[in-house]
Subunit: 288 residues, 2 copies
Amino acid sequence: MIRTEPAMKPLDSVAILGVGLIGGSIGLALRKRKLARQVIGLGRNSTRLRTARRRGAVTSTTTRWARGVAGAELIVVCTPVGQIVDHILELAQYCSQPTLITDVGSTKQVLVESLSGKLPSHVRFVGSHPMAGSEKTGVRYSHDDLFQGRVAIVTPSSETTKESVKSVCRFWEALGSRVITMTPDVHDQAVGAVSHLPHVAATVLAAGASSQYQSLASSGWLDTTRVAAGDPRLWQQIFEENKDHVLTSIDQFAELLGQFRDALAKDDRRTVSRILKAGKRNRDALGS
Amino acid sequence: MIRTEPAMKPLDSVAILGVGLIGGSIGLALRKRKLARQVIGLGRNSTRLRTARRRGAVTSTTTRWARGVAGAELIVVCTPVGQIVDHILELAQYCSQPTLITDVGSTKQVLVESLSGKLPSHVRFVGSHPMAGSEKTGVRYSHDDLFQGRVAIVTPSSETTKESVKSVCRFWEALGSRVITMTPDVHDQAVGAVSHLPHVAATVLAAGASSQYQSLASSGWLDTTRVAAGDPRLWQQIFEENKDHVLTSIDQFAELLGQFRDALAKDDRRTVSRILKAGKRNRDALGS
């Protein structure tokens, strides 16, 4: 389901936990589009929070989370995948009024299962995953149009209400995203194929690169391996949380790689050509 | 060996066979840098040749190759890898005076072996491989700084003279390239690892992509698969000519991919982390 009509009512107060590339870009976009009167940056590290405030990504910051979320109608959790559950459970304790929480993590099923039945009734959670980002990290790379025209996945589950799903969809639409909804499990399978597998391939290519040939690397090598510059700890968490789907995607990739290899070895030109043409067709379909 | 001092004496006449992205960019660069009085575009297709002339990539064109190479001091063969040998042998027949021929093909060993002992003594051949290009093809994408700051590999062999190798090195340096020399076989091994393997990985990723998830493809997928949009016929020839080295590179890649897969499956966090970190280290070393 693709929605296109942004219709979010401006909010009084939004709290963002973790003001790095994604959290910072959300803050910048909210402020630029005048979608929130107050954007409160939460974190543990005052220096980083100060950097985010100076960049204009948030209007105020605090390391005292209870205070930060006190008046927030919406909390966006932008911390690494492996910490999101603990962070949401902690923040939920501090919410005294009806509050909507979403996140931006790259996996969803483990998150939804871990939170199941553990949130107070006035706190609603709907998972999100904006398909935007970069191998770069940190608020200094954030920008207010990071989500413009990009897909944001919102993941309704048996525990989400229609109203809260709608609010989260409108939030991403208001930041310029095209919203697609899918269940947490379908999400994890999809991103396993379209995001986590390319990361594995890029990482293995880069990790296996011989230093003696690196002076020859041209744009092809640079493009194909670009995402391997991403944060290893973050990606380790993503792979662990989405292990089953990532393994399935790797196995399918290895199977087709083996077919290509054997076809080349046996001078089976038809198969080599078929795979090359299928790759070009699929790649051309997506543009540059 | 890296050379940095361009010192090519301007030539009177250079012939370029095949005026597409690479051939066209050579012509544009020669003209912009005033390195040749005449740049003659050779080909079979008058319409394409006309396009190249209109773009300013060449000063004149002809489909009559004998006439085109009559006065040329240097011929650059920019046709697809599988045709280079035949084209060089044909052109060599038409050379009545001392002529230097080079090419821009992505593989070298088969080429050098196939030409061995077959050229008249006044025609000297030295293979080249500029590590520049794009998944785009055609003279309309050519530009005069395509080689600026990029590596060009020149491949001396037992049949090349020092003087002709030096001339070809100076030619690429004059176009702005950093020249590296290596034997044809070492070249093929190196590009098998640094160029052909990434193309295989990108192709297999793109070919295996499920259409149902394609709307989710973000910059990671787009970067990792970009080169898969390259010309399938051209790449088929490259893979066939460099089969042994490509197979070795695929096998090394598949081995490391298998290690990563098994480590993830067994929750061997150390190995997963080691490979992720090695990938990041190697990728970071090359810049963006």
